[in-house]
Amino acid sequence: MNKKYDAIIIGAGVIGCPIAYELSKMGYKTLNVDKLPDAGEGSTAGSCAIVRAHYSTADGVAMAYEGFKYWLDWENYLDNVKDEKGLARYMNTGSFLLKSQGHDWKKVKKNYDEVGVQYEELDNDKIKEMVPVADLHEYWPVRRPEDPKFYDEPTKEIEGAIFCPEGGYVNDPALSAHNIMRAAEAKGAEFMFNAEVVDIRSDNGKVAGITLKDGTQIDAGIVVNVGGPHSFKINKMADGVWEGCNIKTKSLRHEVMYCPSPDGYDYLNDGYHMSDGDIGCYVRPEVGNTFLIGSEDPDCDPQQWVDPDDFYAGKGGNGKDNVLTDAQWKAQCYRLGKRIPSLQVPNQPKGVVDLYDCSDDWIPVYDKSDLPGFYMAIGTSGNQYKNAPVVGRMMAELIDACEKGLDHDKEPLQYKFKYTDRSTDVGFFSRKREINYNSSFSVNG
């Protein structure tokens, strides 16, 4: 007799765990299966865990702003569960969005006004007061160090910045997923690790359960794909699912650099999250008084689409495997070195290489599928960590509504936010949508 659950959730990362938590609170008996040894050890662990509200769509801004409330109230969100590993911490540094040609900041401002996000517009003098190490020249367009024009002298300054007092980062994303797992377990959820899904079974046109690599079969009438960079492989295992999606996902390799803060600048304690489209970078403080430097994927940077299994096995060679490249180290550090001229750049690359589960328009797919009972929360495209608690709740309500008869494709669920006075049309995240050209097609979302 196979073990049976109400819902099997494939993946115990920062999106998979809150889905289990919310479904469990609603009375579902859930099981998460993950091929790694613990929660949050996949692409969640490589996340920069930035919490900020500037998205290119009003819906994106609203969801992110709603997410803030969960991070700010972490213990209560977890219903005061104890985690033997401690709790992850949200560091509210405040967040700069520099006004640059690399970012449609006027659209962001409009979205902020619509949603009610608090912000101030700052001039360059004010920015320099807050970030004394900054050089505010305009360096647009973003280039690579191999391009001789990378070294051109700037001629004017940027127009200032939009500053949000709310914004920052979570200091340990893998731990945050672990915390949510413990909270879910306190509501009856179960988790199974070192458990790789190799098949998704269906019966009479409905999902019936999963099969693991060791042959174990587990039954459920609901299966949710939260497989991160492996999401496309999982969708292909289920009858009709891959074919029924207009928006597909694939995994994109990304390098994030750690560069020491200049002498005399306590970035860890005094610094802000900064999104700097002018140089194609975003930064936030990291332990060791270090700048974590992420890339906003400027057009001049080649994109490496990889097979996730090869990648995590260290295969693929220089530039395709999970080792930092010197070329990208210099690109991201020297770009930041224009904004922060006193930044000293070591010769040895240091940082993290990991994968985005990227959708065709960099907007997630939070939806049911063409196989009744099979759902997906995928295509997070490097920009959904901050929304995880909201997505957990939204997916649980979507699944519950569909299981109770809602035809979500015809009448999309309207999800009511718990903190922000607004609803969002979950159809915005449909697998059937046409590519959304309002998207920034980048990690900015």
Partner: protein, 255 residues
């Protein structure tokens, strides 16, 4: 004062290393300035900032792409570079001869720095061979350098925490150790300024090197596979602390 720093273009210590044909590594990975050479360059720059009329010249034996490591050295404050190009791999004997010959051709060394070892070959001998060829005194694993009128006073670290202090007449050869200083890495403005600094290229075969009767060849490279089996330390807090102290003291010998 002409201060020469001998540098090497080596694989990044974080790279995946794979062996090809049993005798060499797959070079499709990141190469960079040997970490010990960073300490040598930083010390040379410190000396230049404290004395008048000092010129720092970096010398490197390597393939054409070693140009990148010379650029790193220039960005860190070296005044100019010399790249001795060769497509072959050279042992320490030929390397020392090439470096000595290039330095001699270029100027009059008052002080020659190297790193105490390269992280790929770890021969730890090139500085001694250079010293022997020039008939200069040599000290290695140097963790302090003071230059006085005609001599260098240095602290040289041995294992077990012992430090010897030596006085060497100038010119001399010094192998920089990790404790010598904290490397001063370049800012972006430093990188921009260094683009104008010159790198002179000479071919290995242009140097008049006496072919030595002795030589070293790599017969075979075999990967050292380490199996790591973690063991959990159990007990109450006091017992765990005692076990940790015992491991650090008797096992790792760091306290």
């Amino acid at each position: 004062m002409q201060l020469y720093v001998c540098i090497k273009h080596v694989p990044d210590s974080a790279a995946h290393i794979s062996i090809v044909d049993k005798t060499h590594i797959d070079e499709n990975l990141t190469f960079l300035l040997n970490p010990y050479d960073e300490h040598a360059i930083t010390e040379a720059v410190r000396i230049k900032e404290s004395l008048p009329g000092v010129e720092i010249i970096a010398v490197c034996l390597g393939k054409n792409d070693a140009d990148k490591t010379l650029r790193s050295a220039l960005a860190m404050g070296v005044d100019r570079g010399i790249l001795i190009t060769s497509d072959k791999r050279h042992d320490s004997i030929e390397t020392a001869q090439a470096l000595k010959s290039a330095i001699e051709q270029d100027g009059t060394p008052d002080l020659i720095f190297t790193g105490k070892e390269s992280i790929d070959a770890e021969g730890m001998q090139t500085m001694f061979r250079i010293g022997a060829l020039f008939d200069f005194p040599v000290a290695t694993n140097v963790v302090r350098v003071d230059i006085e009128a005609d001599r260098a006073v240095v602290d040289s670290a041995l294992s077990g925490g012992i430090v010897n202090t030596y006085e060497l007449s100038l010119p001399c050869v010094l192998g920089a150790g990790r404790g010598l200083n904290t490397p001063r890495y370049p800012t972006f403005p430093d990188v921009v300024k260094s683009k104008k600094k010159p790198i002179k290229k000479i071919m290995f075969k242009e140097l008049n090197i006496n072919v030595s009767l002795a030589g070293m060849n790599i017969v075979e490279l075999e990967p050292l596979l380490q199996s790591r089996e973690p063991k959990e330390i159990t007990g109450d807090a006091g017992e765990i602390a005692e076990t940790i102290i015992r491991i650090l003291k008797d096992g790792a010998k760091v306290i």
